[in-house]
Symmetry: C2
Subunit: 388 residues, 2 copies
């Protein structure tokens, strides 16, 4: 089989790359943003709308979907694609992050993790083989290795022990997948090592020796702030092969994504566009705006002038403000579509800039005009369940 990833162009001024990744459900252009469909739906958007706003690939969640609706249901439908009616590429996480961030009463053993369901407390187990088996049943185009996400600010000794086990788990994932995974499914390893440069290097080298189809930088660790995440990317990328896609898990704000692209990352997922939409925050090139603000009461223009999203093409900011204040579902949906469109369009602009050789200019301009707002939660993966 031909290599799934093709590196099309490398930026002269940074580590930014333009590439494409072939999966069984279609080819993805990178750098790419992947909307998060934790429970088998991207919150506030349907499959047709995801296409409209330019989604190429979406995420599903091994932990959540295996608990509800459960694998029996998804197997009955022949996989997640058919169940949720999304016929494009799907990436599933391994469940590792959620086991460590959502589930209660965990016991980490060599065979895997024993934990309790966040829904009803029932005892559950996920280990490397279980995770790969679930992702096989989901029919993911891209499946992730099962890993431990150590707690933020854990010591070197804990991080080293955790990493060693995660590497043994990675080997077991590969073994299971080689024997059992669906044809064409791609498997990505996840670089861990917490905040320690030596462990990140060790992790990257060991995973690369296993020869994965792609490499992720693990959600660093649960609760870790963004500068550490940026540093983890800088430390890790030099040890990753040029000819494989690199996925930065669970980040970030628009300028963070631009900066991570500049550090050589290709794939991103984040719940910010959907989660913030539900709180009435809309993304623009100048930063997020709070659509509830009194200043928009009479605003006939859209959220962002020139935006081609289904919300901005049709509706005034004044109306969207009214809908959000009145707690109308339509308001949440319209801001969600705007925000997803913003992120997907940002990825498209980054790709064009790399192709044109204008990425340095784009990056500088973006950093100069985009203002991060206080109060906007940045970084980190998804802590909550019903509301992402």
């Amino acid at each position: 089989m031909a290599e799934p990833f093709t590196l099309l162009k490398t930026d002269a001024t940074s580590r930014a790359r333009r590439g494409e990744l072939r999966t069984t459900h279609g080819t993805i252009q990178t750098p790419i943003f992947m909307p998060v469909g934790t429970q088998g739906a991207v919150k506030g958007a349907g499959p047709d709308e995801l296409r409209t706003v330019g989604a190429q690939i979406i995420l599903g969640n091994t932990y959540h979907l295996s608990i509800r609706p459960g694998l029996d249901v998804i197997r009955h439908f022949g996989g997640l694609h058919e169940f949720i009616r999304w016929n494009g590429p799907l990436l599933t996480d391994s469940g590792g992050f959620q086991v460590f961030s959502l589930a209660k009463i965990r016991q980490i053993k060599e065979e895997g993790v024993h934990f309790q369901s966040h829904l009803d407390g029932s005892p559950l187990f996920i280990g490397p083989e279980t995770s790969m088996e679930i992702q096989a049943a989901l029919g993911a185009d891209i499946a992730m290795a099962f890993d431990e996400c150590p707690p933020y600010l854990c010591g070197h000794e804990y991080a080293a022990t955790s990493l060693a086990r995660t590497l043994r788990w990675a080997e077991r994932c590969r073994t299971w997948a080689t024997a059992n995974a669906p044809a064409g499914q791609l498997h990505f390893g996840i670089v861990q090592g917490a905040t320690f440069a030596d462990l990140r290097e060790e992790s990257a080298r060991a995973l690369v020796a296993m020869d994965w189809a792609g490499y992720a930088i693990g959600g660093v660790s649960v609760g870790e702030p963004v500068p550490e995440m940026m540093r983890a990317a800088e430390i890790t990328v030099p040890f990753l092969p040029e000819d494989r896609p690199r996925y930065c898990m669970g980040l970030g704000t628009p300028p963070q994504i631009v900066e991570l692209v500049a550090r050589g990352l290709d794939m991103f997922d984040c719940v910010l566009p959907t989660r913030l939409a539900r709180h009435g925050a809309a993304f623009t090139d100048e930063g997020t705006i709070n659509v509830r603000n009194k200043q928009y009461e009479f605003e006939k223009g859209p959220i962002e002038i020139g935006c081609e999203c289904p919300c901005c093409r049709e509706f005034s900011l004044a109306y969207v403000r009214h809908l959000i204040r009145a707690e109308e579902i339509l308001g949440i949906r319209l801001v969600t579509l705007h925000n997803l469109h913003y992120y997907l369009r940002l990825a498209a602009r980054i790709r064009t800039a790399i192709e044109d050789g204008s990425f340095a200019e784009f990056r500088a301009k973006f950093a100069a005009t985009y203002r991060e707002r206080p109060g906007v939660k940045t970084g980190g993966e998804e802590p909550r369940i019903l509301h992402e």
Copy 2:
């Protein structure tokens, strides 16, 4: 100006009628169901989706919209059509029902009603002229007279006093509208009289003498059960002119609508399809089903076989069940679209049956197959605010 309403056909077996009503934003085919857009949005659906499911006319709410976003905003946009981006016919209620069901601390005086906003308790006033002025500013194609909805089971004396005042208010509405209403706006009187046949007759006769473009049967009274509503329709209709549309406010379940059509009613609005959708109840010809039910866990078929709505054309009942159980917005939206489509399609089937001369057959078959479920709230107008 030509009469806005044309009676196209009368059923031979009942009082059912097939007609059409011309408004400044288009012609409505009756009998018709009108989705409720209380706060300037039909809960869970956008304007494009309303068109897709067959909506011809929607409702807006004088009371809610005048409080939020406020008339200044809607005037700034040149009316509700432009603000909410709905270019079809719009009917607004007068605010009377909400003043009596939602607002707190009311004082009913001859000039109108003093009350407190349900949002922040601020003192407000709506009288006949205020109501008509608001509905003029909203740019309603059909505006309703301002009325008192007396409490359920009030005595004859109270009901008679209330009715006399409501008739004086109706005169004042007409006077204001004749002098000030936008060109082409239609005005409907509302027959009141609580549960008393003599008062209903008196109300109908007095209103007909005023010569309104159409006649509504007032939400009977706040909290009144359905049999009384059906009786109120039977009592009232004989006193209404054949050549004017008749609007039954705030009802009902599908079989109730069929029976009210058989009693000579033409227009209906009800929040049941949207409200029940949010609780996971979907309408079918056999009654509502609870999509959460375990029996649908593996169901690959749609909510209703043969249904052409955006939900049933694409998604399995098992997936919709999963979405509703997982509290995903997409689930609410899909069931909402199904339910609205069901009601709008029901109205279309009723129209076809009247045209074909098969209404009696349709009515009998519908009554035989549709089962009202206990637990489905029926009848009455909308008591709550944020969630309808």
